[in-house]
């Protein structure tokens, strides 16, 4: 059987000094830039549109179409337009962009130059979360090398300047308009739309904001062709992506494959759920995507497939939890995260996330009542769809889906007068369970 693994973005991660310009160039790096420069900017935009590339940051919006929302370029208007790369990877479970920028920052830098050329931006930014020191070192070193090699700078062929900008710890800055406010030196709070960033973004100028993996995919699309890219994946979800497996799995890590692979296939590659245990629940794309169970092992992991299963593909952050894990504990902890990260701008999210934590804390301790479950769902109805941005919606996903899937487990906390699970059994160092103890 041929392997479903298709290394493109991850292909050079294992090579010696892969982060350097020498290593990147030796394996064909910056050839796609040279190809792009033989085309007009509009031809590059068309290629990205034709490839079917959709945003890899979670929402799945077509990248080429997003670029197309920019107002037509006016040679008589000397004012700037901007490309901003969202490298604020913070969604719980999501861990693909950080290793990409650590191992191959030039893939992203080349993508930035080609994309800036396509949208005619002369200034680009990579907004990277501040809590990843070595990734920031590698990015800055790659940018310096690209300047020295003549790929970046006002006198380079594309004429692009690139600034690596470190954030300071705020999940909300992954929301693109909050990111813009943060990049302008303000509290990171989302903006009212319209106007959309394509019209009035950074410094109120036309701005494109894309995820790291989206921009990093552009060199491959230009280098190998839109048709090649569109030939991978499924009908409406084209190309390859990085799937990130974590938790109770034998070999957690990054698995790059065409869109549409299933969790069953990925688990086969990863050695399965950890020895002697069974899959209990998982997130398809981070904690903001509704939980799925072993009933969803054969769901195609593309935008449509996961959507039809009642969840969202999100960032393909597959957090795997086995039967030792208490779902109430897991959901309470995620809720504490959303409470901490709510920016405070809108009432449903600011107040609602606090309410969720209060009720879940009571339930986990076994002090609540069954009516609290209805209370929880009622709170979620008042947060989802009524919050200013998607953070509030995301906060309700694990709560609602866990009550739907594991209502009995919530009730068991009430009957047991607390959590009936042994947290030690879930740890990475829990004694390995003997095969004869495995439940059928």
């Amino acid at each position: 059987m041929t392997s479903p693994i298709t290394p493109v973005l991850t292909a050079n991660w294992g090579t010696d000094r892969s982060w350097t310009l020498d290593a990147y160039t030796a394996q064909g790096g910056y050839q796609a830039l040279a190809t792009a420069l033989t085309k007009t900017p509009d031809e590059v935009v068309a290629a990205v549109k034709d490839s079917g590339l959709r945003g890899r940051g979670g929402a799945g919006f077509p990248t080429g179409m997003k670029w197309g929302f920019l107002p037509p370029y006016d040679d008589n208007d000397p004012q700037s337009r901007y490309l901003v790369v969202n490298a604020d990877e913070s969604e719980p479970g999501t861990c693909k962009d950080i290793p990409l920028m650590m191992a191959s920052p030039h893939t992203l830098v080349e993508g930035v130059i080609i994309s800036s050329y396509a949208i005619r931006a002369k200034q680009a930014f990579i907004y990277v979360r501040g809590e990843v020191l070595h990734v920031i070192r590698r990015l800055r070193a790659a940018v310096a090398e690209a300047y020295a090699a003549g790929h970046l700078g006002p006198d380079s062929p594309a004429g692009v300047d690139l600034i690596v900008h470190a954030g300071a710890g705020a999940y909300i800055c992954g929301e693109e308009t909050a990111l813009l406010d943060s990049l302008e030196g303000r509290r990171g709070q989302p903006r009212l739309r319209p106007p959309f960033p394509a019209v009035a973004g950074l410094y109120a100028r036309p701005t494109v904001i894309n995820n790291v993996e989206s921009i990093a995919s552009v060199p491959a699309i230009i280098g190998k062709g839109a048709d090649w890219f569109a030939g991978l994946g499924t009908e409406k979800s084209k190309g390859f992506v990085i799937y990130s497996l974590s938790g109770h799995v034998t070999r957690p890590g990054q698995y790059e494959a065409p869109l549409g692979i299933t969790l069953r296939e990925l688990l086969d590659l990863a050695g399965g759920v950890r020895h002697g245990h069974q899959l209990k629940f998982w997130t398809p794309g981070g904690s903001s995507t509704p939980l799925l169970t072993d009933a969803h092992l054969d769901v195609p992991l593309d935008y449509e497939g996961v959507g039809a299963a009642g969840s969202m593909l999100g960032t393909r952050a597959l957090q795997i939890f086995d039967e030792t894990t208490c779902v109430v504990r897991a959901v309470l902890r995620w809720s504490e995260f959303y409470k901490h990260e709510s920016c405070g701008k809108c009432t449903p999210c600011r107040e609602g996330t606090w309410w969720l934590v209060q009720v879940l804390t009571r339930l986990e301790a076994g002090n609540g009542s069954e009516a609290d479950l209805d209370q929880l769902l009622d709170q979620c109805e008042n947060i989802a769809g009524r919050s200013f941005c998607a953070l509030g919606d995301g906060a309700t996903s694990p709560v609602v889906s866990s009550v739907q899937l594991f209502r009995e487990e919530y009730l068991a906390h009430l009957e047991h007068g607390g959590c009936p699970f042994d947290a030690a059994a879930s740890t990475a160092w829990a004694p390995r369970r003997q095969s004869q103890e495995v439940h059928a």
Partner: protein, 207 residues
Amino acid sequence: MTINATTYAELQEIAARYPQERSGLLPMLHLVQSTEGRVTADGINACAEILGLTAAEVSGVATFYTMYKRKPVGEHHVGVCTNTLCAVMGGDQIFAELKEHLQVGNDETTTDGKVTLEHVECNAACDYAPVVMVNWEFFDNQTPESAKQLVDDLRAGKTVTASRGAKICSWREAERVLAGFDDGRADEGPSAGEASLAGLRTLDGDQ
């Protein structure tokens, strides 16, 4: 402690990197932390003066972001991920044992000033859970024992190297890099950890 002339000039240098200089505020606050050990009133005033803002406006930004500290931080900042996945994989136990071992609570510093302990949110290394960060460098696949050894080594001033990163500098030195002043150490450490290569490894031995 007032902001000295060198630091003031560097704060101006950061602001000048951007098309609009207020964009420099986040890195400027990182630089304030690197010299002052926290965000001080003097640091806020210097940023405000350079950017033409009020101290209240700068303070409003500084209090929004969790990486900015109002209390002095120790020589090293140790962050234990206790978001759901790391917590379940053992992060909760690591954090509890470190508090006991160091005799500090969350966001507190050891009496020798060496280590500030904090629980942190998801740091995008879930495939290496449970994860501990030292001055925002990755320490992967930790156990209570390895984490205690790690903080002991930090307190003893031993050389400590990140799982995927460089030899550990101080928290203040790290903050200077975040402000945009390179320390020339990008070439330390590996390209990737084993989990990052898990997909590639499945192809080993394939034709």
